[in-house]
Amino acid sequence: MTGIDVARIRADFPILKRTVRDGKPLIYLDSAATSQKPVEVLDAERTFYETSNAAAHRGAHQLAEEATAAYEASRARVGGFVGVEAENIIFTKNASESLNLAAYAFSNATALARWGTPVDPRFELNPGNSVVVTEMEHHANLIPWQEVCAKTGASLRWLPLTDSGRLDLADLDDLIDTSTKVVSVVHQSNILGTINPVAEIMARAHAVGAVGVVDACQSIPHMPVDVRALGADLVAWGGHKMLGPTGIGLLYGTSEILQAMPPFLTGGSMIATVEMERSTYAAAPQKFEAGVPMVAQAVGLGAAVAYLEKLGMAEVAAHEQELTAYSLMALSGIPGVRIIGPTETVDRGSAISFVVEGIHPHDVGQVLDNMGIAVRVGHHCAWPTCRRFGVPATTRISPYIYNDQRDIDALVEAIAHAQHFFKVAS
């Protein structure tokens, strides 16, 4: 038993009281797509709108002061949550924007250099250069790099996977070589649940002088993460998967890298001086935050962080670890069910993908949904990973702090029901 009191936590999440599909109690097992939000987060956003709403960093009146203070307090809070200074945290709209921001540093610098703007050569890519990802990336950490390669002539490489769903690092030193200018890898896979040895990979990246990027979307919401210990230059994740509002994402960067990167979105609030012909830019984080920011969402995210800190991330991780062990055991026990990804709890998180022999994942999901159980089916934005394992799609559960073993028991029962309904061996 961990220190997480699921019943008490559930009381903080209004949506968990609703029913679905003709009165079935909702069992939400899709937190890897997006988490639910506690009432504290909803209250924080609303209170902001009702008392301090104004354009942060854009006015001198009292509301603007309060909005700016609230926005910046949230930045500091998020920074503290992952062990860094406020000024190393950039607010984006989602993790995809954060990863695109990182990727565009390379295509932008390359284009700027071509026309004579001095840039940090680390970001300049040529046909001889390579970009390295893994075969288990979410599309958000794959396609931006494909686009970078298409725009610069660089080539994309990837670390392959073992049959058990781990990174195969046998050729690490060959794949990441002196041609490599950026290495971007997922910390915890959203489809396999695998937790990768990112510090080791980042060390190799730095050994060849490459910039290191980590996609921490599925790790930071679920376990204590000291982002500096990841050894990366840039770390991206989202707010909506960690109890925060939709519409807010995060990018951590070392001061050094943020200073070296060209801006991404440009416009108001990210400038130092502006003339018709040219502009100069503010220091990070402002440099990367053009336009009126998502202040209310930042405030909501601050409340989400406070909620998680109150629970304690070590407790959250322990709770999920326990649930993962239980789920792996329960699912392995069902004949015809195959887990796609590591089958032991070592270095794996609570998101578990599986296929049920003879039933398409979409149909599995439908039966589960009909019984009130919300899971995700499909390729989970990791289509190449599905191909690697020879499946068109999977069914995925992804529990969080408001789930317990009874939810897994219900899942097991529902899978048996699906097998019965579709008349496949069970």
Binding site: R21, D22, H362, Q366, V367, N370, G378, C386, P392, A393
Partner: protein
């Protein structure tokens, strides 16, 4: 809605025993369509027989709804004239947009009427429509239909 109402026996039967599955030797038009959210795939081909009747070839992988829908499509339009087939296609599309309140005409839609329950599940409508969109696309590519006739479905 009960699972039985969604997955009518007819659907399961077409899923497990697809009619006319396989590719054509000499297709006029081929369209490969994918449902990007779940990865369901249908490869659909059309050709015209000497009497102008449609010849249909198809293959695919995916959920019961998408694959059964392809089988039903084959059953409904194989051998039909293009205009007849178009009426059937439109009737099926309309049924899918009925939000479950459609009263499908069995004379037109045959086994297709079994998909009435699917229309209640927005995420599954795309599955059911997948082969029908590929069909329309294949007809356009094969020159059997003008692009401007397309209703965007």
């Amino acid at each position: 809605m009960s699972l039985e109402a969604l997955y009518q026996d007819i659907i399961i039967d077409h899923y497990k025993n697809p009619r006319g599955r396989g590719l054509l030797e000499f297709p006029l038009g081929t369209a490969f369509h994918v449902n990007p959210t779940c990865g369901d795939e249908v490869n659909l081909q059309v050709a015209a027989a000497a009497d102008g009747g449609l010849l249909i070839g198809y293959e695919g992988t995916g959920c019961s709804i998408s694959q059964a829908s392809a089988s039903v499509l084959y059953e409904l339009v194989q051998g039909r004239q293009v205009t007849e087939a178009e009426n059937i296609r439109r009737a099926f599309v309309e049924l899918m947009h009925s939000q479950g309140h459609g009263e499908p005409d069995e004379a037109v839609l045959g086994d297709g009427i079994a998909f009435v329950g699917v229309a209640k599940y927005p995420a599954r409508i795309k599955c059911a429509l997948l082969p029908w969109m590929a069909f329309q696309d294949a007809e356009i590519k094969g020159g059997l239909m003008l692009e401007t006739n397309s209703d965007g479905e």
